[in-house]
Structure formats: C-alpha cells, structure tokens
C-alpha cells in the first residue's frame, strides 16, 4: 500500500489546527502566539528546503555527495552540542567533531554492512536518514552529558580537589563525574524506550508504516534504530568527554576556569 500524499490544500488545512492553541493563548494570555508562529514558520521553511534538497540527493545518490552531506550534518550537530554545553567552542569543537564523526560512521556502517545489509552501503536513503536519527539523538545526550560533566566538577571543585589530594589519579577522580554524566545523557533515551509502543509510537516506526511497510518490518527497524541510538549516545558522550580532558584540565589535573563561556573566578584566601 502506497502512502497517501498530502496536497498543498491538505497541508494548509493542518495549519488550521493551530487555531486551538491560538484561542487558548488568547484566553489565558500565554504570550505563546509569536514564538509559536516563529517556530512553525521556521520549521516549515527548513523542511521545505531540506525536502527539495533530499529529493535531488536521493535522485543523484552519489557516494561522495552523500558523505559530504553527512559531514555537514555532523558539523551542524557539533555546533549545536557545543553551543548548548556552556563550554567554549574553541576548546571542544574538534574533539566533539572527531567523536561524532567516528561514532556515527562506525554505527551506520555496521548497520548498513552487517545488519541490513545493503548492496550500496552509502545509499542516501539509509546513510542520511540513519545518520540524522543517530546525530539528533546523540546530540541531545552530548549536550546534557558534556554540560553536566564540567559543571559538576566546577560546582564540586573542593570535593574534586580533595579526591586528588588523597593521591588519586586523574582518571579515579573523574570517574564519578563521568558515570553521572553518561547516566544523565542516556536518561531520556531510556525513558522513551520504556514507554515505546505503549504510550507512543516512535517516529521511525510511524514513518515506515506510513511508507507502506508492515508493522513487523516497522518494529524491526525501530528496535534496530533504538539500539543504534543507545550505542551512539553512550559512545559519543564518553569519547567526547575523554577527548576534551586534555584541553579542559591542566597538567596538574585541575579544571581550567577559562573553558567556560561565563567563567567563574576562584576564591583565594
């Protein structure tokens, strides 16, 4: 069964649904109308442009162009992650880029070569779509994980220094913070996995079903993508943090205060 296409008129009718939040916003004075419409217009323009772009990308299906586009997606994800993390971009952009690229490529190639497996492992339909899903999810995890890691050490600096003073290695002193950050980064993914299929039908599964595939195929793809998301989130958070240690800590194992966008000064007695 082919998916029913939406005409321009149908799409316009979807916008009519927005009347409800607009009315609610007017009644309760949510001051939501401006940001809501700004976000919806922005999303619509972005999706129209990417729709046109992806149409030609899929038509061309050129390995080099597909890979370049994936790298552009990685770069955009890195900048979003760094911007959300309160750490200076100059300090962590390169480690973050390396970690996102390596993890995304390894996981996608594993899926495309071993799991699915595809004749053309760089097929745009798989490379770009899977890449987008992995990057989007590990991006959220990385923002949470990196921020928590560095903020936690800064906020507990006395405790961290006390552990160093006990004669611990830097790895031993950092391990509790790494554990806490990875657990926090993974929390939203684990929570969504717990309710998946019961409370919510996930995006990929919905897409595959609407695309005409049977629910059996859809759940198999959904299981695959969720495991890939968990793996790429954990791995990229750990790799990014480990790779940023050298630039964010000095040789004495002390966190550099200039790594934060709004640096706090130490109180010296």
């Amino acid at each position: 069964m082919e998916i029913v296409d939406l005409s321009i008129v149908s799409l316009a009718l979807v916008f009519l649904l927005l009347t409800l939040p607009v009315i609610l916003s007017l009644i309760f004075d949510f001051t939501l109308i401006k940001p809501l419409f700004y976000s919806i217009i922005r999303m619509t323009i972005q999706l129209i442009l990417i729709g046109i772009f992806l149409k030609y990308l899929f038509l061309l299906n050129n390995t080099l162009i597909n890979l370049i586009w994936l790298m552009i997606m990685v770069t955009a994800a890195v900048f979003s992650a760094v911007r959300g993390s309160s750490i200076k971009i100059t300090k962590i952009a390169i480690p973050c880029f390396f970690s996102f690229s390596v993890v995304t490529f390894i996981v996608i190639l594993y899926l495309n070569i071993v799991v699915i497996p595809l004749d053309n492992i760089f097929d745009a339909r798989y490379l770009i779509v899977l890449g987008g899903m992995l990057l989007g999810n590990s991006l959220r995890g990385n923002i949470v994980g990196i921020s928590r890691f560095y903020k936690s050490i800064r906020n507990n600096s006395k405790k961290y220094l006390y552990v160093l003073s006990l004669g611990s290695s830097q790895y031993e002193a950092l391990l509790p913070y790494l554990r806490e950050s990875v657990q926090l980064a993974l929390k939203p993914t684990l929570a969504s996995m717990a309710t998946m299929g019961i409370v919510a039908l996930p995006g990929m599964m919905t897409g595959v079903i609407l695309g005409g595939a049977s629910p059996e195929v859809a759940i198999k793809y959904q299981i695959m993508i969720m495991i890939a998301i968990v793996v790429s989130t954990i791995t990229s958070v750990v790799l990014t943090i480990l790779m940023t240690l050298r630039v964010c800590f000095n040789s004495y194992g002390v966190l550099r205060q200039d790594v934060f966008i709004t640096s706090k000064t130490n109180k010296i007695k």
Binding site: N156, K158, K159, L161, Y162, L164, S165, L166, G167, S168, S169, E172, N250, S251, Y252, G253, V254, T265, N266, I268, K269
Partner: protein
C-alpha cells in the same frame, strides 16, 4: 634540582590572582618532624600556600620544593600521594560514610593500606565519633563530625606529612586539644597547619610563621 634538609620549602613565591597580588616574595621552609602554624589575615594567601604545594595552583614566580624535589606538573602527583590534606570546609561529598571510606580505600595508591573496620572504629573512638557514624549520610554529619572524619581518613592514609587547614575550627575545646596533641606528639610527623586557634599557637612544640609579614614569630 634537589634541596637537602627541608621537607617543604617555599622559595621566593609570588602569586597573583586576577591582577591582585596575593603573595609577594615569600620564602620559608619546614623541616622533617616540625609542626608549623601559618597565620595571617584572611586573603593573605595561607590556603593558597597549601594549594601551591599540592599543585592546585601554580605560582606566578618562585619555586616550591617537596622532599628536595621541585613541585611541578609531574611531581605534584607524587606530593599528593605523600601528604594528607584536610581542607577547612572538609568537602567530602555525599553518600554514606562507609561509601567514602570504600572509595578512599579502593584508590590505587591506597590499596595496600589497612582500612579494616576495627581500625576505623578505634580511630572513631579516639576522636569521639560513635561507631554508628559509618552508616550515616555524610550530609547529616555536623561540621565538627566532618572535620573529625576527615582527620580519621588522613590518619588511615598512613602518611607522615599533614596539611591541615583550620581543622579544629568546629570542635569544642577538649576535642581541639585531643586533635592538636595527636599531631604534636608524633615526632615523625610533619605538619603545616593553618589556624588562629590558641591551642595550636600556644603550644611550645609549634613554630609560627606569619604569612603576611613573611617571617617567623
């Protein structure tokens, strides 16, 4: 470069922070077995001196020596294995006291040490902490209990050099005396203490160095 005799030596130390001069051309040394108390008003750089020795802060100018070896980015890790440091705020984290003791005993550098429960209980008893303390949450301990727990941990580490930053501030008089006596009576242990407490300053076995004036009192 090795300097003999002095256990700890601060040599022409300058420390600036955010453009402000904290320490200017300060020199003094602590010999093996000495108990030295640092005094000076708030902001004179007393705690910074301990931070400098541990490599938590780098001097703007000058050198610090520990057991004759210059403290730098490599030797600072060695210094931390040889000294026991107790901060004035005793930031020992959250969780239970037992979790903290387990964490400390599992550090690679402390694996050979004896952290058995009878030894811990013995030290708890020495410093008037109840045996039940081990199962308490760290955040529920009073300031004085936290200070005594930190002292117990520093003793369990079996180190001979103690850096004590206002460790008796939250203790009552008999306990202050007990803690002071414990460190002062041990000939083999070297102490660098920050305190304005008369129980330290009036002790004849203690040397007092005025950080502000830069000279012995």
């Amino acid at each position: 470069m090795r300097i003999k005799n002095a256990m700890i030596k601060f040599n022409h130390i300058h420390l600036n922070f955010n453009g402000k001069i904290i320490i200017q051309n300060l020199s003094f040394e602590v010999k093996h077995g000495e108990k030295v108390v640092l005094i000076g008003k708030s902001g004179s750089g007393k705690s910074s001196l301990l931070g400098l020795l541990l490599g938590f802060i780098e001097p703007s100018k000058g050198k610090i020596f520990f057991e004759g070896i210059r403290v730098d980015k490599k030797s600072a890790w060695y210094v931390r294995k040889k000294v026991a440091y107790i901060d004035q705020d005793v930031s020992i984290g959250d969780g239970k006291v037992l979790d903290l003791l387990n964490f400390v005993s599992k550090l690679k550098t402390n694996k050979s040490l004896d952290f058995n429960i009878s030894k811990v209980n013995g030290l708890f008893c020495d410093f008037e902490l109840s045996n039940d303390t081990i199962n308490q949450d760290l955040e529920n301990l009073s300031g004085g209990e936290r200070q005594r727990l930190a002292i117990v941990i520093s003793i369990l580490l079996e180190r001979n050099i103690f850096l004590l930053d206002e460790v008796t501030s939250s203790l009552d008089k008999p306990l202050k005396k007990k803690v002071t006596d414990y460190f002062v009576e041990r000939e083999n242990c070297t102490c660098l203490v920050i305190s304005h407490d008369s129980i330290w300053l009036d002790n004849p076995a203690v040397k007092v160095f005025d950080v502000e004036e830069g000279k012995w009192r």
